[in-house]
Subunit: 123 residues, 2 copies
């Protein structure tokens, strides 16, 4: 397993799902998963998906600038740190954001998101 390839594939999958079918992200989170979105805390796949699906914009497009990853310890997890731009429909200027994910392996050989922290980077 090449961690850089895994993290890049995860990031592409995550944001393309976010931009086309937000509720499709539910399968990436488990009951122990945590999201901190602009300082607001959510736990569990359902609460997290409700938050993401309920964000007050209909269409958006994420453009990724950087992806960094590191193994997070002996449990086989992986930290993925993303920076990029978020373009909302009807807005002239994109918003800059940073986001980190802590991916943990599943028994099926895939990964789920244990930790997710999102922040807009205001200019």
């Amino acid at each position: 397993m090449d961690p850089d390839a895994v993290s890049k594939a995860f990031v592409e999958h995550y944001y393309s799902t976010f931009d086309t079918n937000r509720t499709g992200l539910a399968g990436l989170y488990h009951e122990t998963s945590m999201l901190t979105f602009e300082g607001q805390k959510f736990q569990g796949a359902q609460n997290i998906t409700n938050k993401i699906a309920g964000l007050p914009f209909q269409q958006c497009q994420h453009q990724i600038t950087t992806v960094d990853c590191q193994p997070s310890g002996p449990a086989g997890g992986m930290l993925v740190f993303v920076s990029g731009n978020l373009q909302l429909a009807g807005e002239h200027h994109a918003l800059k954001f940073s986001q980190m994910f802590h991916l943990m392996p599943t028994p099926q050989g895939s990964f789920y998101v244990l930790n997710d922290i999102f922040r807009l980077n205001y200019a």
Copy 2:
């Protein structure tokens, strides 16, 4: 242990040490620690401290905008996500940055930095 209080104390300690005595950060890293600094990877306390101490500016000041934290799993670790401004001596404009730390507990009841990822947020 209040995770928010621990992460806030860590962040204050980390950046005040960075801004006054960068080599003093060595004690926060272990041999397994990893730093990804603007995409460059370093491992081990000595290599990481060499990188930080060798950054091409003499004086700097970090101003913290946000600190978010989450527990990282059953091993007792903590993820700390920071955004802020980095003011370099002699520069008019501060640089915006985002940084994440994965803190792991030590047998002495303290924490060390297992993972550290730093990115400037270019406008």
